[in-house]
């Protein structure tokens, strides 16, 4: 398996510590983080990094095909898994999970079609299910201000 630095170099990126940190923050994160979340994570190592740099870096990575930029409830989220797949988005706590199981294969198959019968050329796809995650469905109480704020989607 290629390491992060080699992957970036292969795509023609200059290797900067900030870039590596942003890339690794997404690759090592299964929560489909927002740019803001990546910013928070990367600042632990690079306190002076700017949010703008995070946005631009993520944007350039997505253009290079190194990660997937998702539109979830009108916000950008990032996914190290670039294979098209479906997501489950909890409207209560904001958590975003992959849809797994047999159903999931369906969507990668759809992407493979490349083009519909009518001649629409498919470049990318988003398949998002919104609702309540198992945990939020169980505790049907208000979690209050101490609840999961970081992952919560805007109202």
């Amino acid at each position: 398996m290629m390491n992060a630095s080699a992957l970036l170099k292969e795509k023609g990126f200059r290797i900067t510590p900030q870039r590596l940190a942003v890339f690794e923050a997404v690759l090592g994160n299964k929560t489909h983080p927002s740019a803001e979340s990546v910013y928070t994570a990367v600042r632990e190592k690079f306190p002076s990094i700017s949010l703008n740099t995070v946005y631009k870096t993520l944007q350039s990575f997505q253009e290079a095909g190194l990660l997937w930029q998702l539109n979830i409830a009108r916000n950008l989220r990032y996914d190290g898994n670039t294979l098209p797949h479906a997501h489950l988005c909890c409207l209560r706590c904001g958590q975003v999970d992959d849809l797994n199981g047999g159903l999931a294969k369906l969507f990668t198959d759809l992407a493979d079609l490349g083009m519909t019968k009518s001649g629409f050329k498919i470049d990318s796809l988003e398949v998002n299910f919104y609702g309540s995650c198992p945990s939020c469905s169980r505790h049907a109480v208000n979690l209050g201000p101490s609840g999961p704020g970081d992952n919560r989607l805007p109202e």
Copy 2:
């Protein structure tokens, strides 16, 4: 078939000319218009209507289940067809079409599931394919500033 006024009344809405105009602007429009587009259309009859009123009206209609609020490429679009279905979004001209054919049934079936095997409760879903519509695929030239601006998605 129930008329617009009766439908609104049934949902507890007061009947105002603005509301009727907004409702009909969406029902009689297969282009999945944005709030801005609805605003432009409704202003022909009600030049003094405010964009804010259009936003709030559309929001309340979607909460009442009278129409579907779509997240297309991070913008809100509205659809008089409230049955869950998939969309084809041209990234070049911004046009949004329904995906028709056998594939389409798949997505309404998915919605009918209501819950995944893992216990995630599905309230709504978005299935969006991005790419080039047949027309844009054919004319692979720059349409320039006189091209389809109204429907074009933000960069």
